[in-house]
């Protein structure tokens, strides 16, 4: 293995570029984090919102600057969930159909909350989130075909766009050690 000068310089330049990219992405996502906090706290203050949805919201509010472990765990668990999606639709519904418990206005705010949490996750860990989405596209498409063949009708869940968020939330509940809650001092 031999590296010439240009390769070493390119390697160092690549490292510097990745660090700078992360810094700029994190800074650019700050307004979205604030809106995420607004909408999340609004839903948390509403007594009609079910407890499991509130737990999901707390997880994503707490992981606004992190979430790497959760994304990696989701990446690993997606094949299992694709299998569940294909062959055990009732169990899948208990995992992914939480949004149905919300009323009209709260459902819209929750949809926006999911969209913002995806943007924030993208800013925090763009490569891992891309892997999650690619894995979902590759594995859930055949799972959907299998499910369609079994049922005889195409059954796309209403909240298919939020599949990664639902999985992350469910996996967070399954983890034996919950992710640490960040404490800020100022």
């Amino acid at each position: 293995m031999t590296m010439n000068e240009y390769q070493i310089l390119l390697f160092l330049l690549g490292v510097a570029s990745v660090i700078e990219m992360g810094r700029r992405l994190s800074k650019a996502a700050q307004p979205y984090r604030k809106t995420l906090a607004e909408k999340g706290e609004f839903l948390l203050s509403d007594p009609t919102v079910p407890a499991d949805i509130k737990r999901t919201i707390r997880v994503f509010l707490g992981e606004a600057f992190g979430g790497r472990l959760l994304l990696i765990a989701t990446c690993i668990a997606i094949p299992i969930f694709a299998f569940i999606f294909a062959f055990f639709p009732r169990f899948w519904s208990s995992i992914a159909d939480r949004r149905k418990k919300l009323s009209g206005e709260n459902a819209k705010i929750y949809d926006e909350f999911i969209r913002l949490s995806n943007i924030v996750s993208f800013a925090n860990h763009p490569i891992i989130l891309a892997c999650v989405f690619i894995e979902i596209a590759l594995l859930f498409t055949p799972a959907l075909i299998i499910r369609t063949l079994i049922k005889g009708a195409i059954q796309v869940p209403d909240n298919f766009y939020a599949i990664n968020v639902n999985l992350e939330s469910y996996i967070h509940d399954l983890l034996p050690m919950r992710l640490p809650v960040r404490i800020y001092r100022h």
Binding site: M1, T2, M3, E5, I8, L9, L12, L13, V15, A16, I19, E20, G22, R23, S26, K27, Q30, P31, Y32, R33, K34, T35, A37, E38, K39, G40, E41, F42, S45, L61, A64, F65, R182, Y184, H186
Partner: protein, 105 residues
């Protein structure tokens, strides 16, 4: 002056002017070989090629500077986010339109 690490090890090979990595037993050995290759190889070339040396030093400085700046900014953003959440908890509901306007700006 001979090779600093011997003929059959990674790192400086001043006789041939080439840098080699030899396979060691085990994962840790290979990793140490790789590190020594990067470290001694870079120093060797910095001595031999001043332009490369200066460029590499500048890039290393840039990396350290970016890491330091990223950490400092992230800490500031986290504090700002925390304060924003506390404000939202106190006020319970703020006009979303105002926040959306901030994003558009």
């Amino acid at each position: 002056m001979g090779d600093a690490l011997g003929d059959n090890q990674s790192g400086l090979h001043l006789k041939t002017g080439k840098l080699e990595v030899t396979a060691s037993d085990g994962l840790i050995g290979s990793f140490l070989d790789f590190l020594s290759y990067i470290w001694f190889g870079t120093i060797d070339r910095m001595i031999g090629h001043p332009v490369f040396g200066v460029s590499a030093l500048c890039l290393l400085f840039l990396i350290v500077d970016r890491i330091y700046r990223a950490r400092r900014e992230k800490y500031a953003l986290e504090i700002e986010y925390r304060k924003w959440r506390e404000t939202a908890i106190i006020q319970k509901s703020l006009p979303f339109k105002e926040i959306d306007d901030n994003i558009k700006e």
